[in-house]
């Protein structure tokens, strides 16, 4: 009887460790990467966001603290009038599949054009960081790839930001699309 008891203890230990080994921890759904090779080397990939349907609104009523909701932006203002804002989107590939999340943050700095940057998190692939340069007229134009992790690690390059605005609805709401056209290659 004692032998049976000890054998079952051993079986319990083995079963537990095996169960931990085969337990299906979460894996991310991955769509085929829509990447094209550009003639002068490197690769091009387009990420798009449609508004209003791809906007993500995480602020929760009563819990926002000092963060204000200003239209589609989450905004934080300082006493001197300076402000920082953020907007968040779901990101799609060129086939229209939702593949990740993106945040665009803007900081106003006295006497200078606003600083802006994009963070794109593709859960199955990694993170891509983009730093924006404002055009003289203030409209976003594009900028450079400032870093990356996972599949985007060790890449350098540039991107263009293209905004296409649709018709304004009768209630004043608008729709449109933002396309981030990235061109990257291995960093030197």
């Amino acid at each position: 009887m004692a032998r049976l008891f000890y054998l079952c203890i051993l079986a319990g230990v083995v079963l537990t460790v095996l169960a931990a080994g085969v337990y299906p921890l979460p894996q991310h759904t991955r769509y085929r990467s829509m990447v094209s090779v550009v003639p002068d080397g490197g690769r091009e990939e387009v990420f798009s966001m449609h508004w209003p349907q791809d906007r993500v609104q995480p602020l929760q009523a009563g819990r926002a603290g000092p963060i204000q909701q200003a239209g589609d932006l989450a905004q934080l203002s300082a006493a001197d009038g300076a402000s920082a804002s953020a907007e968040i989107f779901r990101v799609r590939d060129v086939a229209g599949n939702v593949i990740g999340l993106a945040s665009r943050s803007v900081t106003t700095v006295a006497g200078a054009a606003p600083d802006a940057g994009w963070v794109l998190l593709i859960p199955s692939r990694g993170t891509l960081f983009l730093g924006q340069q404002q055009r003289g007229d203030g409209a976003p134009a594009g900028g450079s790839v400032t870093g990356g992790t996972g599949e985007f690690a060790g890449l350098a390059g540039s991107y263009d930001e293209v905004r296409q605005t649709g018709k304004t609805a009768a209630d004043g709401s608008s729709s449109g699309q933002i396309r981030l056209i990235t061109r990257v290659q291995a960093a030197p």
């Binding site: 203890i9 079986a11 921890l25 819990r63 963060i67 934080l76 300082a78 600083d115 990694g126």
Partner: protein
């Protein structure tokens, strides 16, 4: 009688198996928090602001969402285990709060046998009027998970025992780093570490009260 003995042996074995996993020596090797060098500023945040995505709880990390968690989760298959938070962080250097956006996802390669249970995260921190930084890193929640589970086994609910956890980065992923900066942070290099304090009022919540220690040089 034989069935009772076998069942008792199996229960004891499962207990020892769970103990073996929790005291996994691998967790001691890879439990070292990220080292910081240079000037360190501490940014404190709680789960204020708001979030969308998976719940940062043991269930969420195991892919088991609660009813409340499912309401906040994304329906898109690729975002099932992703999360976005907007928070206002208090800067110990003084001044107005900092606007933080934290994008995170359950880390690839999580493994119970290797004491890896974490997330990858990307921060965008914006100081109104000063500039911004972008951070990339990962956190391993194994230590608070293990302590909370041990507390639950003893019938005390999921309450990690330590007052404060310095969350180590996940092995085989990039070290937590400052990726880029603008304004006052243009050209700076650095690293960061997230620290987690469990809140008694929210057992099982791995967001708790947080500190983000940002080192720049």
């Amino acid at each position: 009688m034989r069935i009772l003995v076998a069942a008792a042996g199996l229960v004891v074995g499962i207990f020892f198996g769970a103990l073996l996993l929790m005291l996994n020596p691998i967790s001691l090797v890879q439990g070292t928090p990220a080292m910081l060098s240079g000037a360190v500023r501490v940014l404190a945040w709680e789960s204020g602001g708001g979030f969308r995505g998976f719940e940062l709880t043991p269930g969420g990390l195991f892919g088991l969402g609660s009813a409340a968690g499912r309401a906040a989760a994304f329906e898109d298959p690729a975002l099932e285990h992703a999360r976005v938070e907007i928070v206002a962080l208090a800067d110990d250097a003084g001044g107005p709060p900092v606007l933080g956006v934290r994008l995170s996802a359950i880390a690839p390669g999580n493994s119970l046998l290797q004491a890896r249970l974490g997330t990858v995260a990307a921060w965008s921190l914006a100081w109104p009027g000063k500039g911004s930084v972008m951070l990339a890193g990962s956190e391993n929640y194994w230590a608070p998970f293990r302590d909370g589970l041990w507390s639950a086994i003893r019938g005390r609910g999921f309450h990690p025992g330590h007052a404060h956890y310095q969350l180590p980065p996940l092995p085989r992923l990039e070290a937590p780093a400052l990726v880029s900066g603008t304004g006052a942070f243009a050209g700076v290099r650095g690293s960061f570490r997230e620290e987690y304090t469990p809140l008694a009022a929210r057992p099982g919540d791995l967001t708790g009260s947080r500190q983000l220690s940002l080192a720049t040089e």
